[in-house]
Symmetry: C2
Subunit: 486 residues, 2 copies
């Protein structure tokens, strides 16, 4: 009876920049893995595995990482402040310590209700807590007025790129491989991603000569490059930058007049060496150069509750700090965030807990420390086990785990595999990851989702999933795959 409906919106007339955006972390493979998961719940799907392992995304608590007790006890009181009328029950029967109660009362005194909007840039007292943390971490003062709470770091990146990119000539230097939030956001903004390769041979460090060349090429293409993104520790690479690398990037940024966006969300996920913040190095350079030549180097540094030992990504909490920014530009950033009203207030409270955890001597400290260390050690152990497995695999090379939550091995696949992939209209790494998912239920992200040097192939896996069975299933799949396409 009814003809096919005539709609206003179709794939050919909606925003072409949305259409152009790619976001592989939650792309085709992730969608297929969710279909498998649903099929397994449904029962007899005839799949050759019993479980889907989502190693495609850094989602710690989906993979059985337990939340930190202190944090969640405080949050439960913020959600239901009536519980604070029963302190004896909390203390004597429910294992809440006095510092949990004190923190909840303090936060409530500053926040009012977690159900109320806060100031657009976040609760002032929480911004002050972050400033205090930054001062302890870096040895330089921080100003709460330069701190903006955000719904995870992603929303902070979205804000900053929106303000920085002015038109279709604007460009941002982005590391390759990179977390695809950057390329996707730049696609949406119709601005240029100016890619610069990280150096796999030097543990995925930054190479200023490479960055310079990328910048020069963009300039000659008429691109107005405005900022450089650095992800440190690296995603997907896991690398930690040295102080020397950071200085070199800041020096380059000063010379070329680029703002620096330092994505530092993995700052506590460091196994080798130590985390060094861009802020500290920049302030040191400012101190060492009283002529003020570094005073115009703008730095935005992002952090989040999603990663680290906190792993509370579902709460969408994060912040960014602006250093050396023009006050008029900051006012526009403030207006931009105000349009979305404010970051989730319970997530803001979680940021406060992250930057101000129980101190030595406080009643919750011992358990907090124990839980925190166990998560840290667990991640290190799983990273090491996974790395060991990769070392056994033919044609796979993987740098020693250094940090973050990922390994990003190189894979060399036989030409026949590339041919079979081409027949499906896929890149070889996509083809490999798709076959792996179908055979084992393990979901990885192909290297092409992050960008990789021409001719090289990689995949990214988190090392969050517990157990070793899934690692074994990757090893077996890989050996079968190599046999099949040899």
């Amino acid at each position: 009876m009814s003809s096919s409906p005539v709609r206003r919106l179709n794939i050919d007339n909606i925003n072409p920049h949305v259409r152009a955006a790619k976001y592989a972390v939650r792309g085709e493979l992730a969608v297929k893995s969710e279909e498998f998961r649903a099929a397994l719940i449904g029962g007899g799907a005839g799949l050759p595995f019993d479980e889907v392992i989502s190693a495609n995304i850094g989602n710690p608590q989906q993979l059985d990482q337990k939340p930190l007790t202190f944090f969640r006890q405080v949050l439960s009181l913020l959600e239901n402040p009536v519980l604070l009328e029963h302190k004896d029950v909390l203390l004597n029967q429910l294992d809440y310590k006095s510092d949990v109660i004190e923190r909840a009362e303090w936060l409530l005194s500053k926040v009012g209700s977690v159900g109320a909007y806060s100031a657009s840039n976040g609760v002032p007292a929480i911004r002050q807590s972050i400033a205090d943390f930054l001062e302890r971490r870096d040895g330089f003062p921080a100003n709460q007025a330069d701190i903006y709470l955000s719904a995870g770091a992603s929303s902070g990146v979205n804000t900053l790129l929106h303000v920085i990119c002015a038109d279709e000539k604007s460009g941002i230097l982005v590391p390759i491989p990179q977390y695809p939030l950057y390329t996707a956001s730049l696609s949406l903004l119709n601005a240029h991603c100016v890619p610069y390769l990280l150096d796999e041979a030097k543990n995925w460090g930054t190479d200023v000569a490479t960055i310079k060349a990328a910048h020069q090429k963009a300039k000659s293409d008429g691109i107005d490059t405005r900022a450089i993104v650095i992800i440190n520790p690296g995603n997907p690479t896991g690398a930690s930058l040295t102080e020397e690398d950071i200085r070199a990037v800041l020096e380059f940024s000063r010379e070329e007049k680029l703002a620096v966006l330092a994505d530092e969300v993995y700052q506590t996920n460091v196994f080798v060496g130590e985390f060094i913040s861009f802020k500290r190095v920049l302030r040191e350079l400012q101190q060492q150069n009283p002529d003020g030549k570094y005073d115009g180097v703008e730095l935005a540094s992002l952090h989040s509750v999603s990663k680290g030992m906190v792993g509370e990504c579902g709460h969408r909490g994060g912040y960014f700090e602006l250093v050396n920014f023009d006050p008029e530009v900051q006012a526009e950033i403030y207006k931009f965030v105000s349009i979305m009203l404010c970051a989730p207030v319970i997530g803001q409270c979680l940021v406060e807990l992250m930057v101000n955890p129980p101190k030595k001597g406080q009643p919750s400290h011992e358990l907090y420390q124990k839980e925190y260390s166990a998560i840290f050690e667990g991640l290190r152990e799983r990273a090491t086990a996974l790395h060991k497995a990769f070392e056994q695999m033919e044609g796979v090379e993987c740098a020693t785990p250094q940090g973050s939550m990922y390994l990003f091995p190189t894979i060399k696949l036989p030409p026949k595999a590339a041919e079979a992939a081409a027949k499906e209209g896929r890149t070889p790494d996509e083809f490999y990851c798709m076959r792996l998912l179908e055979a084992t239920g393990v979901c990885l992200v192909p290297g092409s989702g992050f960008g990789q040097k021409d001719g090289s192939l990689h995949f990214r896996t988190t090392f969050l999933a517990p157990g070793t069975e899934w690692v074994g299933s990757i090893v077996k799949f890989h050996s079968d795959f190599m046999e099949q396409y040899r």
Copy 2:
């Protein structure tokens, strides 16, 4: 020693569309009111008032609206599931009912941890719960796959406008007065706001002839209008549309091939008449027209936990439902939301509680109902009291409160006031609201922040603030102001 720093980014080279965006709800007046609040906390500010009343923003829990007990009890268990190991304590000592515990256990079984990312479009079971609610509300089935959880309705609007607007020719019909999220988002996207006036004489209803004229004018200006925004119940107007108005808008949208964005976040804040959803009327039209001529009318309907008797705006929870959308367009919407990963999971759970509150006969029902009704009645009483005060004020006219959380009276100010305003570079309504804030601590939003018919002046006030003293202070200020500028 140091010269003025040379920065990369300044007000003249950042994104001009960010600069152009206006968002008066959190603009100059709001910022000034926060300065006054800080000054009052600081002590002797010499201000002529003791308290700042934020009547500029619908932020119920900032103004002492208590959260609903059932909701917050469940959330406390979601944040700290360890509490579920102490059911006897919860039940016997902390006043938690068995349905609170059951709901928390059910949600946890579906969500896993509230600290984990969910699917990009939201937890499937929560989407199903919303679909069930929509079916009960409208009498027509809803599909969970068409529902997208969002961080408040604002983030849903942001998503939809991003996908719908293709380029600088794209336009969206927006009611005037409107909630400035729409004009601000369209500024950011460099798309056109195509304004259509609501009819103040007909209780701020929609007038299709006016909409048609606005649409025609845009067409002749070369604007490619793609959708129409309806805010029902109205913000800032408080009006509830009749079924007749809704039908007329849908009929117009069909004729002109426009998608409909129905902002229905105030759907439970209705004092006069009843809320009628666009979805129900559209489905009825589809049913009554088996030739399928309405099957291509796309509708996106938005809702949120921020308003109504829930008032949990700080949690940033919301959703939108897509009706009659092209599946390929929906896939792009899915990708767009996936770039920001997912809506806050605790906010998603709150959406579930909102759409599926305790039912009659369940242990928490009585208290829930009592609290819910008390909030509803409180809002109605305060709206009435405020309305009564406005009726006494010279040159002020205000429609009977119908719904939402706002009154939007017309004010007629003496010419001298307009002259004084012009001297300050302000519109007369901005000038009035600024003087009011300075004299009384009451923060309103001038009508120009929402748009108003040329030559008319208004202000918007929420009726959330408790007590009547602040209302009295507005009356007194108004009388003094009129005297001064007569």
